[in-house]
Structures are given as structure tokens and as C-alpha cells.
């Protein structure tokens, strides 16, 4: 309870300081808008629907791309861990592409797919895929061999051992890979949306960029706040349940 009060007090003071600096008129209000005008922008944008639509467009790209990245990444990671041949081919590619900042896929995606939804999805998938492959591969390799041995003496065979033992045993690694994939996908999508206009839908990144073009600083800061909130919510909704499960079962520390 005391901690909560401290947090609330801190943010109230922060907002107060912000408002006070604006009133001092040290900088032009075009560059430093007041918290009140940012609030007005957010409320207005929610009421006229632009913010809701933009959020929906962005989240749809992100979730579909992320889901596809997982759907391909998990099995491919299992393959690279299981077969030497896959490790030496796909594994090397994954390792290389993982070091490539995923924004660097944007120019290629634009040339291949044009200014379309497909280009956006492609960027998100590339952000997710490689880190999921590598995390899964890593997770499987660190599973203590004794688990598989114990399972085999109980009559577990190949596929059953993989599905019921190897994959759940590597969950801590897989979840942290999923988190990293999410972070990469989110960052690269924002960059792509700022960078290119896709006519089928204006995402949060586009709104942010229009804010700059219109010199509407209240819009810029407002959208930035929305992006922060979405990031926090995604962490809570997508990953907290997994982390709670890992914490309960493995006794690992909550991050």
C-alpha cells in the first residue's frame, strides 16, 4: 500500500513538474506541449476513432505476424536441435539473421511486396522467427538427458518423448525466446510504420509520423504514450501467465 502511494505521488509530481515547466514558457509550446493538451489529443483521437483504428491495424499486423513467426519458429528450432543437417544449414542462417536488426528487412520487404500488408507481416515475421528458432534450439540442447532416459524406461517413444518431455522441459528457454521475438517484432513494426505508408491501413507508427509532419507535438507524445501502454499490456497479457506457470513449477525467479 505504501509502495503504491509512493508510485502515485511520483507520477503526480512528474506531471506537475511537466505542467509547471510549460507554464514557465522556457520552450515554445509547439515543442513542449502541456500534459493537458496531450490528454485532450488522446481523448479526441479515441472519440473520433482514429486512435482505435490505428491501434487495431497495428495490433492485427503484430499478432498475425508474431503468431506465424511462432508457428514456423518452434518446429524449425526443434529440427535444428534434433538433426545435425538442419543445425549446419538452417541453424547457421538463423544465427546470422538473428544478429541482423529486423528493421533492416524493411527495404527488402518493400521491394518484394510493395507498399502492402504483406510487407508489414514479413517484417514482423522476420523479427520473430530467428530468435524463436534459436531459443527453442538452445532450450532443447540444455534439457538434461536424464529426463529423456527416465521417460524411455517408462515406455515413452520418439514422438511422445518429444512432445511430452523435450518440449515442456525447454519451456523456460522457449518463453524467453518468445519474449525476445515479441520485442524485436514490435520494434521493427513501429520502424516500418514510421518509414512507409501502407494505404490499406494507418497504424500507430503512421499516426506518429503524421504528428511530426503536422508539427503536432501533442499527437507525437500522445501516440508514444499509447505505444508504451500497449507494450506493457502485451507483457502482462501474453507473457505473465507463462512466467507465473514457470515460477510455480520450476521455482524460477519472476523477471
Amino acid at each position: 500500500m505504501r509502495r503504491l502511494l509512493v508510485v502515485i505521488l511520483f507520477f503526480v509530481l512528474l506531471l506537475g513538474a511537466w505542467e509547471w515547466i510549460v507554464r514557465m514558457k522556457i520552450w515554445s509550446p509547439v515543442l513542449v506541449p502541456s500534459p493537458v493538451s496531450v490528454y485532450h489529443y488522446i481523448v479526441g483521437a479515441i472519440q473520433d476513432g482514429t486512435l482505435i483504428r490505428a491501434t487495431w491495424v497495428t495490433m492485427r499486423r503484430l499478432l498475425i505476424g508474431y503468431a506465424l513467426g511462432l508457428v514456423f519458429g518452434l518446429p524449425l528450432g526443434l529440427l535444428t536441435a534434433r538433426f545435425k543437417f538442419c543445425e549446419d544449414t538452417l541453424g547457421v542462417i538463423a544465427l546470422g539473421f538473428q544478429t541482423l536488426p529486423s528493421v533492416c528487412w524493411v527495404p527488402l520487404a518493400l521491394l518484394w511486396f510493395g507498399q502492402t500488408e504483406a510487407a508489414m507481416l514479413f517484417v514482423v515475421i522476420m523479427g520473430t522467427l530467428w530468435s524463436v528458432i534459436i531459443a527453442t534450439d538452445n532450450g532443447v540442447r540444455t534439457v538434461p538427458p536424464i529426463y529423456a532416459r527416465a521417460a524411455r524406461t517408462m515406455g515413452s517413444k520418439r514422438l511422445h518423448t518429444w512432445v511430452k518431455v523435450i518440449v515442456p522441459a525447454s519451456l523456460p528457454f522457449i518463453v524467453s525466446g518468445m519474449k525476445q521475438g515479441w520485442a524485436f517484432a514490435w520494434r521493427s513494426l513501429m520502424a516500418a510504420e514510421i518509414y512507409v505508408t501502407i494505404l490499406t491501413g494507418f497504424g500507430l507508427g503512421s499516426l506518429l509520423n503524421y504528428g511530426r509532419e503536422l508539427q503536432a507535438m501533442d499527437q507525437v507524445i500522445g501516440i508514444m504514450l499509447v505505444i508504451i501502454v500497449i507494450g506493457l499490456l502485451a507483457d502482462k497479457i501474453l507473457f505473465s501467465p507463462w512466467e507465473r506457470f514457470l515460477y510455480r513449477r520450476w521455482g524460477t525467479e519472476k523477471s
Binding site: I146, Y147, A150, R152, T153, M154, S156, R249, W250
Partner: protein
């Protein structure tokens, strides 16, 4: 005529027959001769302890009996049939508990039962509860693995091994990582369960006293290459107390034999 000869010779098929088993481990530079022509006959319901210093191949032999590893020469027969792979009828227990951390206690015990055909969900749960009660963990059915102490983990592992009702239990230093008091409790429990459930048990340890306390027979191995040196029948009444004087006599004798077979410089054996 031949048939009658066979009839006369084969009185009753032994539960486990290890017949001339040899095993090498080939590594990049060296080849380790782990087992050299080891033969051992184990009767139904017998409790056999394999003792020896580290590197004598006793764990390797256990893995071969389990079917987790293949011998380079010789073979293992279980109930008269050659062992070709792991199977439910020979359950293995390891030094570390090898419990699955993503499952709770109940689901760990259910793991092997789910692989056993012709059981309803309800029956499986009943069986799992029975064995968890047998090892004294009725209250921890829904606990997570990391919440248990080392001794409790090994009890769950024991329940998990017993649940599919194997005829043979293979135990690889199952109490090696536990403290002395927990270990003594488990000596009592394992003897009780062995008596009650009539299992054949092959138990690997480097602790001579432990072997004498538990085994009908103690088989002494010597290393480099792994060979059987001597076999000792332990004629003590059960249940046995590990601190009794009679037991100490046996373990002194076996320890002496152990030291005799060790080459100088290999005295790393625990009492």
C-alpha cells in the same frame, strides 16, 4: 534325449540373466573398457546389490539391463527373452530424481501410467494415489517438484517407478545424494516395499554398508576393466538395521575384499 537334458538343466528360468556382457566406450582418443565378460544370474524376487569403486562399470551394467544401452558383446535376458530396448517391466531409478519439473507430483507419477494401456483415467489416479501413500506422500499430491526436499523427491521417483507395477526395479545410487538420516529412513521403506510388492531389485551403490543392509546378495566389481570379483550371500534376517554389529561384520569383510582387488593408488572408495 536332448530335450530331456534341457529339461533337467533348466530348472526354472531366471528373472534376469546377464550373459558374457562386454562394453567399450570409444572416445576421440581413448577407448575405455567398461565391462569385461560379465555374467550374472538374478532370481525372481531377489535383491542384488552391485558394489564397486567408480569406473567399475556397475552403472553401465544397470543401463544395459534397462535396455538404455547396448552391450558390445554378450546379451541380457529378462524372463528368458533378450533385452532389446527399455521397457515398462524393468523400471529405472536414478541418482538425481529425474522428476519432471513441469508436472506436479501427481502428474509425475501418472506419466508412466498414462503409457500403460487398458486403464481408465480414474484407475490411473487411484493407482498413483496408492503408491504415493505407500511412500508416505499422500499430503503432497499436488505439490510442485521444486517444493520438495531431496528425500521427498526420491520418494516420488520411487512411486513413479512402482506405479506401472514393473517386476524389476533397477536403482542407480538412488540415495547417493541424500543426507544420512533421510537415507536410513529410506532403507527401511525400500525393504518394506520390496517385501510387500515382491519385486526383483538390482541396486547399484558404492556404499558397502548400504549394500549389505539391503541386498540378499552383494556383487563386488573391480575397475579397469569392469569385472565381477566376488559375490557375497548376506544371510542376515530382515528388516535390517544399518547400524547393527552383525551387519558391520559383513561390510568389513567386503570392504577388505574390495581393497584387496584394488590396485594401489585407486583407494577412492567410500566405506
Amino acid at each position: 534325449m536332448m530335450a530331456i537334458q534341457d529339461e533337467l538343466r533348466n530348472v526354472a528360468p531366471e528373472k534376469l540373466v546377464v550373459d558374457g556382457v562386454s562394453k567399450w566406450f570409444r572416445m576421440r582418443r581413448v577407448s575405455v573398457h567398461a565391462l569385461d565378460n560379465v555374467s550374472l544370474h538374478i532370481r525372481e524376487g531377489e535383491f542384488v546389490c552391485l558394489v564397486g569403486p567408480s569406473g567399475c562399470g556397475k552403472s553401465t551394467l544397470l543401463n544395459i539391463i534397462a535396455g538404455l544401452e547396448k552391450p558390445d558383446r554378450g546379451q541380457v535376458m529378462a524372463d528368458g527373452k533378450p533385452v532389446t530396448g527399455p521397457g515398462r517391466e524393468r523400471m529405472m531409478m536414478f541418482q538425481e530424481s529425474a522428476l519432471f519439473p513441469w508436472l506436479n507430483v501427481m502428474d509425475n507419477v501418472l506419466f508412466g501410467l498414462k503409457l500403460k494401456p487398458n486403464l481408465t483415467r480414474h484407475e490411473r489416479v487411484e493407482v498413483a494415489r496408492y503408491y504415493l501413500k505407500l511412500v508416505g506422500l499422500s499430503k503432497f499430491v499436488h505439490a510442485n517438484v521444486h517444493e520438495l526436499s531431496g528425500g521427498m523427491k526420491q520418494r516420488v521417483a520411487l512411486a513413479r517407478c512402482l506405479a506401472p507395477n514393473p517386476r524389476v526395479l533397477l536403482m542407480d545410487e538412488p540415495f547417493g545424494a541424500l543426507d544420512a538420516i533421510t537415507r536410513e529412513q529410506l532403507y527401511g521403506d525400500i525393504q518394506e516395499i520390496w517385501k510387500q510388492r515382491r519385486k526383483t531389485i538390482v541396486f547399484v551403490t558404492h556404499n558397502v554398508r548400504e549394500a549389505v543392509c539391503l541386498g540378499d546378495r552383494v556383487v563386488l566389481f573391480s575397475p579397469h576393466p569392469g569385472r565381477i570379483q566376488e559375490k557375497f550371500e548376506i544371510g542376515l534376517p530382515r528388516p535390517r538395521d544399518i547400524n547393527s554389529v552383525d551387519l558391520a561384520k559383513y561390510s568389513t569383510e567386503i570392504t577388505r575384499a574390495l581393497k584387496r582387488h584394488l590396485k594401489p593408488g585407486l583407494m577412492e572408495v567410500a566405506e
